[in-house]
């Protein structure tokens, strides 16, 4: 690689960083020159965040256009990671807000060391068993590595860019999104219906609620085992019921177009308890006087439900969409492993299941790590959305 390429990239990064911070923070400020400098430095740091470990390998001549596009993407992400916090820090600095000042919590105990003693076990475990493996996953994703083999080879971003024209990977992503979407939509609609029913003031409401929520405590594996029996084509109770009522038999676990529905139904069954619990909690916060007022104004039951209850439940619905998506991404693993084993014809192989297949069964750590990172990015996206919106959630009553 010619030496001028990294220099050119870093120059552009410095320019972009300076322009960004100047425009968002520094314009017209006395310290605008300092802001320009800080922007240039942060921009360079952002570009180097991924490029330094990769040694600018994506821009070497033997790599094709996909690698280069990927490299530019990595630089952009790296710059976002450094520039956005830098903007926040600079804004606080320029407004003379201190970082060391702590919220004046009344009734605080004295001591600086003691809180760190209390936090130490948590912080150490998080650092060693979450932060370090996260970084290690990034490193692994650039390697050709085998489980148990001592030697590894650096392969730049090949593990990622090979996925671009891997049709089985594309298929996995589609399967994951469709199964997740179905679990969320079907699960939430049914749960809301049941929660409204369980919320009615009838005798024994507490007992009904217990009877509705207990599947929360059932494991995804057990859900897989039980539904394996129920969906069994020959002895399964579901086909027996369908056959005796409608005269049809469905090849639940053998047909690639039906098998995802077996996974979806088992997962919805398992996750409904959790959703119902949250919806009942949410319904308790819908103000009664609002519903009464609407009823006096002549709104019928359906209209009251659609125009008052559902909008007031939207924060909880949103929270549940995120948690259910995370559930669909990860916890369906146990259900799938027992129920379908990812088959038939990979029709129930989700992204998480594929990571297991490739990393453990096929022993290709690097490729599996790259796929982990892609799933990682999706989860980060979900969490960021959740944090950004949970700040302005409506709180009513209480």
């Amino acid at each position: 690689m010619q030496g001028w390429i990294p220099a050119l990239i870093l120059g552009i990064a410095a320019l972009l960083g300076a322009v960004f911070l100047y425009n968002t923070v520094g314009r017209g400020h006395r310290a605008s020159l300092i802001v320009l400098g800080a922007g240039a430095l942060t921009g360079v740091a952002g570009a180097l965040l991924f490029m330094l470990p990769l040694n600018f390998c994506t821009f070497e001549q033997e790599h094709d256009i996909i690698d280069q596009v990927f490299g530019v993407l990595l630089i952009a992400i790296g710059m976002a990671i450094t520039l956005l916090p830098a903007r926040w820090v600079l804004t606080r600095l320029l407004n003379k807000q201190s970082f060391l000042a702590v919220d004046a919590s009344p009734g605080a105990f004295k001591g600086i060391i003691l809180p760190f003693v209390f936090l130490a076990p948590t912080l150490i475990i998080l650092a060693v068993f979450l932060y370090y493996p996260s970084l290690e996953t990034f490193r692994l994703s650039t390697l050709l590595a085998r489980l148990g083999a001592p030697r590894t080879a650096f392969v730049c971003v090949d593990n990622f860019t090979r996925l671009v024209d891997d049709s089985t990977y594309f298929n996995t992503v589609v399967v994951t999104l469709l199964i997740s979407l179905a679990i969320v939509v079907i699960g939430l609609i049914l749960s809301l219906f049941v929660a409204v029913l369980a919320y009615q003031p009838v005798k024994g409401a507490r007992i009904y609620r217990t009877l509705l929520i207990w599947p929360y405590a059932i494991s995804p594996v057990v859900a897989g085992v039980i539904f394996l029996l129920m969906f069994n084509p020959t002895g399964g109770i579901i086909n027996y019921g369908l056959d005796s009522v409608f005269g049809i038999q469905i090849p639940w676990l053998n047909d690639p177009s039906v098998a995802p529905w077996a996974v979806i139904l088992a997962s919805v069954w398992k996750s409904m308890g959790y959703n119902i619990l949250f919806y009942i909690a949410g319904l308790q916060n819908v103000p009664k006087d609002l519903l009464e007022a609407a009823s006096i104004d002549g709104a019928n039951l359906v209209r009251r439900f659609l125009q008052i209850t559902i909008p007031l439940l939207s924060p909880i619905t949103f929270f549940l969409v995120i948690t259910n998506l995370t559930y669909a991404f990860f916890e369906t693993f146990g259900t799938i492993d027992y129920l379908t084993g990812g088959g038939p014809l990979n029709s129930t192989t989700t992204m998480m299941y594929r990571i297991y297949q490739i990393g453990i069964r096929n022993n290709d750590l690097g490729k599996a790590a790259a796929e982990s990172i892609i799933l990682f990015v999706m989860v980060i996206g979900l969490t960021v959305i959740q944090f950004r919106t949970s700040g302005n959630q409506v709180t009513y009553g209480a």
């Binding site: 308790q284 995370t326 146990g334």
Partner: protein, 292 residues
């Protein structure tokens, strides 16, 4: 709980037959009917599993909806051939240790976050907050290499230590403590209480709801461990029950559903018991923290 409208004062007239019949049917009977149907549908898979647990394969294929006679035989397969009892003990041990550890560490973290002022608090808080975005499942390959290089492969340490810290728990207690009036800690300090005494004597006794909720969440979470023990534990000596159920799934011979369902039912008992025992705390703890 629901409140019921007070009954109208009855006129001193003898009720007619239709009025007397109405008294036998609960108010809003159709809601009861609907609730029964929904409870039945949700409970059916487990009910069916319990039924099959007592049957032979031929009973199942004949769709007999009565308990069969092979429960002792199935029990024998589950306990003596598949040795599910040993897996259950392992799972119980791990679930209890991790749950207790998480609750204790989360209490300490909550105490530090709410009742202390220290420089860099927001940074430490952010450090814990960000871990919410790191599901262990994604890190499993790197974690596997790390734990193996520590020499913890095939040990209980591998199943316990990485899971002792909990961001969820720390936030749950932080939220809960922040809602407690500060007069309480001021009074405790005037009385000369140390932070640990304050935690043990005052905070914990008024936090049982949150502790109960966290206990249910974490016990169920640990009990459901599956992919991690598949990876890190080989051999059945220290294996957990979710993986142990595999031994009941046919393999070379035809799957016998009776033992399989009995195994699934047995494996579900501990988390369901914990859930039922702490149900009240679980629900109220959740309601409190719904908008975290």
């Amino acid at each position: 709980m629901a409140t019921y409208p007070q009954e109208q004062a009855r006129p001193a007239v003898r009720p007619t037959l239709s009025e007397r019949l109405r008294g036998l049917v609960p108010e809003r009977w159709y809601i009861h009917v609907l609730l029964w149907i929904v409870c039945f549908i949700i409970g059916f898979p487990l009910f069916y599993a319990i039924l099959v647990a007592t049957q032979t394969n031929s009973d199942i294929y004949a769709y007999r909806f009565l308990p069969g006679s092979s429960l002792p035989e199935n029990w024998n397969v589950v306990m003596n051939i598949a040795k599910l009892g040993g897996y259950m003990v392992n799972s119980l041990f791990i679930a209890i240790v991790v749950t207790v550890g998480k609750v204790v560490l989360s209490l300490l973290a909550g105490l530090a976050f709410v009742y202390f002022r220290f420089p860099g608090k927001w940074l430490v808080f952010g450090f814990v907050l960000i871990t919410l975005m790191m599901p262990t499942e994604i890190l499993i390959l790197a974690l596997f290499r790390l734990v193996n290089s520590l020499g913890w492969g095939n040990t209980y340490l591998a199943l316990i230590v990485p899971f002792l810290a909990s961001a969820t728990g720390s936030f749950l207690f932080r939220q809960h403590f922040a809602n407690i009036p500060s007069e309480l800690s001021e009074a405790a300090q005037l009385d000369g209480a140390t932070p640990m005494q304050f935690l043990l004597r005052i905070l914990i006794p008024i936090s049982w709801n949150t502790i109960g909720a966290l206990t249910v969440i974490q016990f169920v979470y640990v009990w459901n461990f599956y992919i991690w023990p598949v990876l890190i534990i080989n051999g059945q000596e220290r294996q957990v029950v979710q993986v142990g159920l595999r031994t009941l799934m046919g393999g070379d011979t035809q799957t016998r559903y009776g033992p399989m369902m009995l195994g699934a039912v047995i494996a579900s008992i501990p988390p369901v018991i914990v859930f039922l025992l702490l149900q009240k705390q679980f629900m109220s703890g959740f309601t409190l923290t719904r908008d975290k």
